[in-house]
Point group: C2
DNA sequence: ATTCAACTGACAGGATGCTGTCAGTTGAGA
DNA sequence: TCTCAACTGACAGCATCCTGTCAGTTGAAT
């Protein structure tokens, strides 16, 4: 096997997410362990974020590897605009991630294209303040992990309530984030504005998808009502 | 010079934007033209979009080159979310560029991370329809190129007018796009909602930045009025 | 202090890649 | 049809890189 092919194979092993000892990689790829140590050195030197620890092995610190890409001007502008939109309108975790991604991009662009003023004569004012979205990140995780949660909610008329819900889907409407959920106490679908959710707590574990109470069923129900989305 | 260093130098030459003949590159890097033909073949084979034509030379079809990058999960989510926001809320040019960028990313991701459903249990509904933003792209260009334009505008009360303006800045507010301009007929700053601009025409060429009539002056004036942004 | 596995530096030998040259091909223009 | 520059295939010779081995180092655990 040629060296460049082997380097690629090592990256594919690491992409799987687990850690690998040098000796194990050597056996797998049928070379000496000395060769694997050199290969890992080469990958690290070219920027691949590999962590290694005696007794533990090696693994990729950041699992998503993008090979060299070429973009045109409009694609770079779209990237800058989109990251600014996320920085201002999503939760702090996604906003920070967008910022880090821009930093990575800026670090490798020529100096005439990098830098803070990457939007030129455009500005984004889409923020609603971090506080109103303090629960977005954990709700995203609850949706992804199919975890019931108990939420504290404050309706427009000021009335407060608590609900035990199955969070099904999150929507972004340009200024407002909403959560579509199945409410176990009202036994029906409800849509909550995330900026009015005042508390999120654990709500008795995970839930299984149940026909008639999932997001697909919600969409069918909404179509029946003729609601325009 | 080692070959890999020379390949990098060739990329740097192309990043300058002009075209280069094989013979000129060979002279510059002090190797034979045969070697340069091999180098260009190698760059093309690894995905660099180089165009070549007899008598013209070689140049980079897409001038922005990103070397290998590694991202974590949140950064990839931010990227997907941001590109979807652009696709739905910006003009067709930026929306298409965002789509192409996502296609490029998906093409190089492992299959478990690529694909259309990249937002998982989130949706973006930030579109206002392409028609209302039909002038955004040309206004972006007018701002960038400091070109006066004549616009047809329809105010909220239905009244229509035409204005000759110096377009200074574009703002995105989460649902609405606005254009900040110096209106030459009213001799003052005005802010126009881009979805209410019904026509854009050439407006007697370029304008020079004029103290008191640029975007910085506008911001000072807005601060004076205590307006909250 | 000792042990053991992970890791590194140095070396020899082999393998692979690279370069310039040259004859030939290609394509556009006259 | 001819000319000319851009480009390619083939070749020999050289240069560089890669690999496995082995002695030594390192660091954690005992």
């Amino acid at each position: 096997m040629r060296r460049t092919d082997r380097l690629f194979e090592i990256l594919q092993l690491f992409r799987g997410g687990r850690s690998w000892r040098g000796r194990d990689i050597a056996e797998r790829l049928e070379v000496s362990v000395r060769t694997i140590y050199r290969d890992i050195d080469t990958l690290v030197a070219s920027g691949v974020p590999i962590d290694g620890e005696r007794g533990v092995g090696y693994l990729l610190r950041e699992p998503i590897f993008l090979p060299p890409l070429t973009l045109n001007i409009a694609e770079l502008e779209a990237l800058h605009l989109g990251m600014e939109m996320v920085r201002q309108s999503a939760d702090v975790e996604l906003a920070d991630a967008a910022g880090r991604l821009l930093d990575k991009i800026d670090a490798v662009l020529p100096s005439d294209r990098a830098g803070r003023d990457h939007l030129g004569e455009m500005s984004v004012y889409a923020g609603g303040g971090g506080a109103t979205l303090e629960h977005l990140a954990e709700l995203r995780r609850a949706v992804a992990g199919r975890q019931r949660v108990d939420i504290g909610y404050q309706r427009l008329d000021g009335q407060r309530s608590t609900r035990r819900i199955r969070p099904l889907h999150i929507e972004y409407w340009g200024r407002v984030w909403t959560l579509t959920a199945w409410c176990e106490w009202r036994d029906g679908f409800r849509v909550f504005r995330i900026d009015r959710i005042s508390a999120v707590g654990p709500g008795s574990g995970r839930f299984a998808a149940e026909p008639g109470k999932d997001y697909a069923a919600f969409l069918v129900q909404m179509e029946g009502k003729g609601a325009s989305r």
